[in-house]
């Protein structure tokens, strides 16, 4: 064999053997069989690249770090264990009148209409939660989650792609995506009858209309409006109206980290803007990471409701041993 082929062949064999273990993009070891990389205490990431938030991102603290089951605003305030009960995790004390750990850290500044609309929503999470068969949440029946709920309940692995005219975000849940326009266009002037202009007819959208720009070398800011008001803001039933305006801020902290902040502007439902997600820390994943499927499937949901959700919510008759 010619000598010039020896090194490449050895390299190929090495890549074949160690490829699944060594993350190509970051050259850090991975647990064999593990899918994600999370933060480690002794890391010193390289500096952030300029004007670049592309890549596959996952909450840096691990799966579940993006959960806001109690409702937006309340992330991280529910680390509570039932005294003396192993395995209780983030469970709440069922004997407490209102589970403290499920109360939002602070309540959003509702208008009268906002509070009334909130109370018309019957959620499966938060301090007003009910059994899943009793909810009027549109999402469990596979209706569109929409934006910003896709990031305000349980942010999952997402891929950000930058093109000359868009920042495109591919979300794991239901394989949904958004295009944030960066071509200089402006948001629809009338968010209650939104359109990009002729020849597009005005229509509200589950995922809204979005434009974005670089605020500085490391901060990308997007603004969105024109939403369909049938979506909720989160799994705890927080409402929004058709005048909702969402500010979405991404700050590239270093090569491996991105912080995401979501601010809600909705004068119909809230008396002032409020931060619904505050610097959720995301970690860059290997470019080779294959994002798993998580589809809401009506047929599967129907089967789950029949087998579990409906009997679990019924008055029932004691049959447990």
């Amino acid at each position: 064999m010619p000598k010039r082929f020896v090194a490449p062949i050895i390299s190929l064999i090495g890549v074949s053997i160690f490829g699944p273990v060594i993350t190509p993009a970051q050259d850090v070891p991975r647990q064999p069989g593990a899918v994600y990389d999370f933060d480690r205490p002794d890391e010193k990431p390289a500096p952030a690249p300029k004007h670049d938030i592309s890549g596959v991102w996952e909450p840096a603290k691990g799966p579940g770090a993006g959960l806001q089951g109690k409702g937006a605003l309340s992330m991280g305030s529910c680390e509570y264990k039932v005294p003396g009960v192993p395995y209780s995790g983030y469970a709440y004390d069922a004997k407490a009148p209102v589970p403290d750990c499920l109360k939002p850290a602070q309540e959003p500044p509702y208008t009268a209409l906002g509070r009334k609309t909130l109370l018309s929503h019957i959620p499966t999470e938060g301090y007003r939660m009910v059994a899943s068969a009793l909810t009027n949440d549109p999402v469990p029946a596979c209706n569109p989650q929409g934006f910003p709920r896709i990031v305000l309940h349980d942010f999952r692995t997402s891929r950000i792609i930058q093109t000359p005219t868009n920042v495109v975000i591919l979300y794991e849940f239901n394989k949904k995506w958004r295009a944030i326009w960066t071509d200089g266009r402006e948001l629809p002037k009338n968010p209650e009858e939104p359109t990009w202009g002729e020849p597009d007819p005005p229509e509200s959208r589950w995922w809204g209309y979005s434009v974005g720009k670089w605020e500085d070398d490391y901060t990308f800011v997007a603004d969105s409006n024109g939403f369909d008001d049938r979506t909720w803001l989160d799994n705890a039933g927080l409402p929004h109206g058709d005048a909702l305006h969402v500010e979405e801020r991404y700050r590239r902290v270093d090569r491996d980290h991105l912080e995401m902040t979501i601010t809600i502007h909705d004068p119909q439902m809230y008396t002032k803007p409020w931060v619904a997600l505050d610097k959720l820390r995301l970690r860059l994943q290997a470019a080779s990471l294959d994002i798993p499927e998580e589809e809401c499937v009506p047929l599967e949901t129907e089967e789950y409701n029949k087998e579990f959700a409906k009997p679990a919510a019924s008055a029932g008759k004691a049959k447990q041993p």
């Binding site: 959960l67 395995y87 004390d93 069922a94 999470e125 789950y304 019924s314 049959k319 041993p321």
Partner: protein, 127 residues
Amino acid sequence: MRRRLITTAAVVGLLIGSVSLFAHHGNAEFDIGKRVTVKGTVTRWSWSNPHCFLTFDVNGDNGAVVHWVVETQPPRSVTAGGFSQYTFKPGDEVTVTLEPVKNGRPLGRMLEVVLPNGKKMVTGHLD
């Protein structure tokens, strides 16, 4: 390298094990803190959203068979604990530790399961 891998594995394991993943709904149905352990024969393993669920039959003291349905988290979440679409098959003898629902029906959510080969597996609900 080996030491770094072990450290990484420990950190990842800690992170996965210390988070309850409530992708679809909260705790309203469940009798929080109560634990039931039952041994039975698998009739179905549904690998599906919004929750995977396992059904199995348990022989009661009086000869009656109790049909249990226990949910887990969705495929996306339970894969972190090593579960797959092929973890169970009908006829498997399993021992399931679960958190039952409040209304007394034979329903709950799986916390631990011991497979026919003796391997113990835990779900994302565990601490």
